[in-house]
């Protein structure tokens, strides 16, 4: 009744005309299947008893194998076959599911992917074979290496496999003639005469197959004993089955069901299925290109619509009003509809993650659970593509750096199983993706050290930063805190790439960390890139669009408003809620010159025009790029508008400040600014520490910031004094000022306090309230009369001109103005000639010599007399090199007082050098620093400082010196 079985040769003559079409269909289908397999296998490994999952995997691999034959893809087919074989054994319970076996199957799936990629690129299978991998799979299938160590990944990369001919048999074995028997002497390899190829393990020859088919009982013969032992003949084929694919296992379980019940179940099943089918039939597959084109056309339509609207807006009673309104509505709906076609659930970008986490957990020896929430959150496929890699990297990072080893977790009272949670949701026009782990949190201390070591920040900077700000350093280039570099992450390229990739699509990334509890990375990305909301601004008569996502706020700045643009070191800044915001003039960024400024006389140059124009009435667009916040100064701000982003023409593409262009409603073409590009350009101006090289870093040290009080007294020149020296600011009625012994005094807190004037010519107020700075010691206070307190600023105290005027240490540029730095010690002595006498009591018999190293002339000038009056012989130098030069010259000191932050060699380094050399080895060193944290003290001690004193604390320094010297005693 049944005739011969035929089989196609694995060739290309499937009788199908369009092979390319078929191949691309195959690639799409197979890639989809494989992504599912990855995820399913991870699930399967967790629960090897889940038969439904296993069936699913088996079927998918099987389909791949089955389809390969049609396209003549022998290499792909053999890999798929080998792994299907193992899966089949799992399914039939012949093989125990082991991690190694699953790993091997995952590897074979990787191999398949590599071949597919090659196929996609070249439309042909790559050379070589996957013999090693297949052999391993076969060994597993035959139960030989169930628990053997997992094979190394490299062995399975098809590229590294020794290149053999496509038909491996022909090369490795003497080619058998088709007419001879298909069995070899060694019995291992058989060539099927019909197939004309080597049989795969578990495959039977065509002859045998045919024989079996003939021998098998047909439906009409089923009463006869079946020749094949294990098949129980069942007369009634109808059985009740559920919708779950169950394969042939139902032989045992479902056989005796009465046909009627079966039918009933079937009917209800069918009803449910019918609706499914109709849905399936309603969907159409189209190429992405088609959708892209559609989107472009819709964008054009949106622009034309905007243009029309603009024209009609100006005409009161246009006939076009009503139809245009309809056009408007329809266009909006069309736009939304087309946007929807580009939307894909974010879960598509997550598909590979379970597999990655699974591999990581094995590699790192950690137990990791990946939770994914909001996988159906949709976003533009273009955006989706671009966040895939950053997300993957962040997951790797969380697994590698975030989660601790199981032992550590248990010790910390946490469950052994670490959790990484991915959560996606919509918020406004954005998609928020959070990647959180319950690991150790960021190691803030290590980040600090690393930030200092790589010159991204100074200790002083870090002191003022919150943990969150410090955490954000991980997004800086070349930043990796991993103590050991693993193969997983920690190669130093990472989070900075993540950040730049996310910023490329107009997104932001942020980290919050909770020591011991974990970290949360929050990625915020726009729903789509094609249409964005943008702020339209004007500079020099030209309009520009700034993407809304980077705009934080708008500030109007003019000379007579509370916000005024000021100059700091010749850079414009805006004081905004006690923060200095660096500014860039858009006209400077674009190097635009005013054409013919209205209201300017003809003989004024455009530059002058720009100068006079500035500060009059400007708008500051406060922009944030990463953790860098700055303001873009523009002249006018229009409105926010939904704009269609068009790529920048190739000729302009190298200009990083533009991210695209668009057409406005009135038909004009304007450029879209890229705040990222502007920030980079601006950063090169050496204000952003991000971009500044090593040189800028060393100057950073020189420009150690000090809080300064700016005041005026006597004349118009601003004067400054370090804020830390001042005890209080006071204001008293002038009538309270009394005269005693030819000096002004006031009763202050129950004591008489001398009131000193800036100079002999300086007059107190004649009436009203007199402002004064109060300087205090343990027992005494002194007031310095000033006319007005101007401001408190943070600036570098870099004395550029030394002064001959008594009471003035020198002149420095503070907040962009030449400012006199007050020599406080002068006034202290003026008030109390014996101010420093107190310390003199502790004066030792012979004058001790002190080497003072400080880069700041102000502090040298300040401390030298303090130490001098206390009875020390002071030698002051401005850097470590000079100090070491003194050592070379044979100088000896009783004690060394050194600053920590200095350009070139830091205090810490100097101390190490001193301690490493015999000559000054025993000389105690006291560190002075503007900032003193316990960590600094610790570090100071560890490198050999005897003591650590905060710079402004004069008393503490003197105490420290006398203590240090008494401890070291006469040893020196």
């Amino acid at each position: 009744m049944l005739s011969a079985i035929c089989n196609a040769r694995p060739t290309h003559n499937t009788g199908v005309a369009n092979m390319d079409d078929l191949l691309s269909e195959f690639l799409t289908e197979t890639n989809e299947n494989l992504d599912t397999v990855d995820a399913e296998l991870v699930r399967f490994e967790k629960d090897p008893t889940d038969k439904a999952v296993l069936d699913n995997i088996f079927r998918l691999v099987h389909t791949v194998k089955g389809t390969c034959g049609f396209l003549g893809l022998p290499r792909l087919e053999s890999v798929a076959h080998a792994s299907e074989n193992v899966l089949g054994k799992f399914r039939d319970g012949e093989l125990k599911v082991s991690t190694q076996a699953v790993s091997l199957i995952l590897k074979s799936i990787d191999a398949i992917k590599i071949i597919l990629a090659e196929l996609e690129a070249n439309e042909a299978e790559p050379e070589g074979d996957d013999k090693e991998l297949i052999d391993k799979l076969n060994e597993v299938a035959s139960g030989k290496i169930v628990d053997a160590a997992p094979a190394r990944a490299e062995e399975h990369k098809p590229e590294t496999v020794k290149s053999e001919a496509k038909a491996p048999v022909a090369e490795s074995k003497p080619a058998p003639q088709p007419e001879t028997s298909g069995t070899f002497a060694d019995g291992e390899k058989k060539i099927d005469p019909v197939l004309n190829r080597e049989l795969l393990p578990g495959e039977v020859s065509m002859e045998e197959l045919e024989a079996a088919f003939n021998a098998a009982p047909g439906p009409d013969e089923d009463k006869a004993p079946a020749p094949v032992a294990e098949s129980p003949a069942e007369p009634v084929p109808a059985v009740a089955v559920t919708a779950v694919a169950d394969d042939h296992s139902d032989e045992e379980e479902a056989a005796p069901s009465p046909p009627k019940a079966g039918k009933q179940a079937q009917n209800t099943d069918t009803a449910a299925k019918n609706s499914d089918t109709s849905i399936a039939n309603q969907s159409v597959r189209v190429t992405v290109d088609l959708l892209e084109d559609l989107m472009t056309m819709v964008s054009e339509l949106v622009l034309t619509r905007n243009q029309l609207m603009q024209i009609v807006r100006d005409q009161e009673d246009s006939k076009f009003k009503v139809p245009l309104q309809r056009l408007n509505l329809v266009t909006t709906e069309l736009q939304e509809g087309v946007m929807k076609t580009r939307m894909q659930p974010i879960g598509n970008a997550w598909q590979k993650l379970p597999r990655i986490v699974r591999d990581l957990s094995h590699e790192l020896g950690k137990k990791i659970e990946l939770k994914m929430l909001g996988a159906d959150t949709e976003l533009d496929r273009q955006v989706l593509e671009m966040i895939k890699d950053p997300l993957t990297h962040m997951i790797r990072n969380s697994a590698d750096h975030g989660l601790e080893q199981p032992k550590k977790r248990l010790a910390a009272g946490k469950p052994e199983l670490g959790t990484i949670k991915l959560n996606a949701y919509h918020e406004g026009g954005h998609v928020i993706i959070q990647i959180s782990d319950d690991g150790a949190g960021l190691n803030i201390e290590r980040i600090k050290q690393k930030a200092i070591a790589s010159g991204l920040a100074t200790e002083a900077d870090l002191e003022e930063m919150s943990d969150q700000q410090i955490g954000n350093f991980i997004f800086k280039a070349g930043f990796s805190t991993a103590e050991t570099i693993t193969s997983v992450s920690g190669r130093g390229v990472g989070m900075d790439v993540v950040r730049s990739n996310i910023e490329k699509i107009g997104g932001t990334v942020d980290v919050r960390t909770n020591p011991g509890k974990g970290s949360v990375f929050t990625v915020k990305i726009p729903l789509t890139l094609a249409i964005v909301s943008a702020l339209v601004v004007e500079s020099y008569g030209e309009r520009f669009a700034i993407p809304q996502i980077s705009v934080i706020e708008l500030v109007r700045a003019s000379d007579n408003s509370e916000h005024k643009i000021e100059e700091l070191k010749s850079s414009p800044v805006l004081r905004l809620r006690d923060q200095l915001l660096p500014l860039v003039y858009l006209s400077d960024v674009l190097r635009m010159k005013r054409k013919s400024p209205a209201g300017l006389s003809a003989n004024e140059t455009p530059e002058m025009g720009a100068q006079t124009q500035r500060g009059k009435d400007d708008y500051v667009v406060v922009t944030q790029v990463g953790d860098f916040r700055f303001g873009i100064v523009v002249e006018r701000v229009f409105d926010t508008e939904e704009i269609v982003v068009k790529p920048v023409a190739p000729i302009l593409r190298h200009i990083s400040v533009f991210s695209g262009n668009t057409i406005l409603g009135d038909g004009s073409v304007i450029m879209i600014l890229d705040p990222n590009g502007i920030a980079n350009m601006y950063g090169n101006g050496a204000i952003d520490p991000d971009e500044a090289g090593a040189e800028a870093v060393s100057s950073e040290f020189a420009e150690e910031k000090t809080s300064l009080l700016i005041f005026k007294a006597g004349d118009d020149t601003p004067k400054a004094v370090p804020l830390s020296l001042i005890a209080r600011l006071e204001e008293l009625d002038v009538s309270c000022v009394e005269s005693s012994n030819g000096r002004d005094v006031i009763q202050y807190r129950g004591q008489l306090m001398p009131l000193v004037r800036m100079s002999d010519t300086h007059q107190l107020r004649t009436e009203g309230r007199q402002q004064m700075l109060v300087f205090a010691d343990e027992t005494r206070t002194m007031g310095l009369a000033v006319d007005s307190i101007v401001d408190i600023v943070e600036d570098s105290l870099k004395i550029e001109l030394t002064s001959d005027i008594t009471g003035v240490a020198g002149t420095a540029v503070i907040a962009g103005r030449a400012t006199e730095i007050i020599d406080v010690s002068h006034y202290l002595v003026a008030a109390f000639p014996d101010w420093f006498e107190e310390s003199r009591k502790s004066r030792v018999k012979r004058p001790r010599s002190v080497l003072l190293i400080d880069d700041s002339p102000f502090f040298r000038n300040m401390l030298a007399p303090v130490l001098g009056t206390a009875g020390y012989k002071v030698t002051a130098v401005e850097n470590a090199d000079q100090a070491l030069a003194l050592r070379e010259g044979g100088a000896l000191f009783d004690v060394i007082v050194s600053d920590i932050q200095m350009p070139g060699m830091s205090g810490f380094e100097l101390a190490s050098m001193i301690k490493a050399d015999q000559r000054w080895q025993k000389t105690p060193i006291v560190a002075i620093s503007a900032h003193g944290t316990p960590e600094d003290f610790e570090r100071g001690r560890s490198v050999g400082f005897s003591d650590y004193v905060v710079k402004m604390d004069r008393g503490a320094l003197l105490r420290s010196l006398s203590e240090t010297l008494s401890v070291y005693g006469e040893a020196v």
């Binding site: 049944l2 005739s3 079985i5 035929c6 089989n7 196609a8 003559n13 499937t14 009788g15 199908v16 078929l22 269909e25 195959f26 289908e29 699913n56 088996f58 079927r59 099987h62 389909t63 194998k65 089955g66 389809t67 034959g69 049609f70 396209l71 578990g202 495959e203 039977v204 045998e208 197959l209 079996a212 088919f213 021998a215 098998a216 009982p217 047909g218 439906p219 094949v228 294990e230 098949s231 069942e234 009634v236 084929p237 109808a238 059985v239 089955v241 779950v244 694919a245 169950d246 394969d247 042939h248 139902d250 079966g262 079937q266 099943d269 069918t270 299925k273 019918n274 089918t277 399936a280």
Partner: protein
């Protein structure tokens, strides 16, 4: 014009089969699994069915058993078309009521030969 239903979960294979069958002047329908195939059969019983074994929702063998138990379900010629080529599977297929059994990959020649043998062409 005779009709043929192609039951396979792979789009590629359905496409290949459709081209061959249409070339042989068959009116061709497609189904992605046994359940869908069954639904189609209930509305219009085809003359021939090209049937895959491993499919989601309902596999080929279960479909066949259901089909043969239904009214008019004995009439279509069912050609099993799969990579499952061991004796156990073949026996099972025949017992479930398969008329023919061909192995993947197939080509025009094979289908034509088979259909000739069962008197469809």
């Amino acid at each position: 014009m005779k009709s043929c239903l192609v039951v396979d979960d792979s789009r590629v294979i359905r496409k290949v089969a459709r081209q061959i069958l249409e070339d042989l002047s068959f009116e061709t329908f497609e189904a992605v699994d046994g359940q869908e195939a069954l639904n189609i059969c209930r509305t219009k019983m085809p003359d021939a069915i090209l049937l895959d074994w491993n499919m989601p929702v309902m596999n080929g063998i279960d479909f066949l058993r259901h089909l043969r138990s239904e009214k008019g379900g004995m009439s279509p010629v069912v050609v099993f078309c799969t990579t499952e080529n061991d004796i156990k599977h073949i026996t099972e297929a025949i017992q479930a009521g398969a008329n023919e059994y061909i192995m993947k990959p197939f080509d025009r020649e094979i289908i034509e030969t088979k259909f000739l043998e069962v008197g469809l062409v």
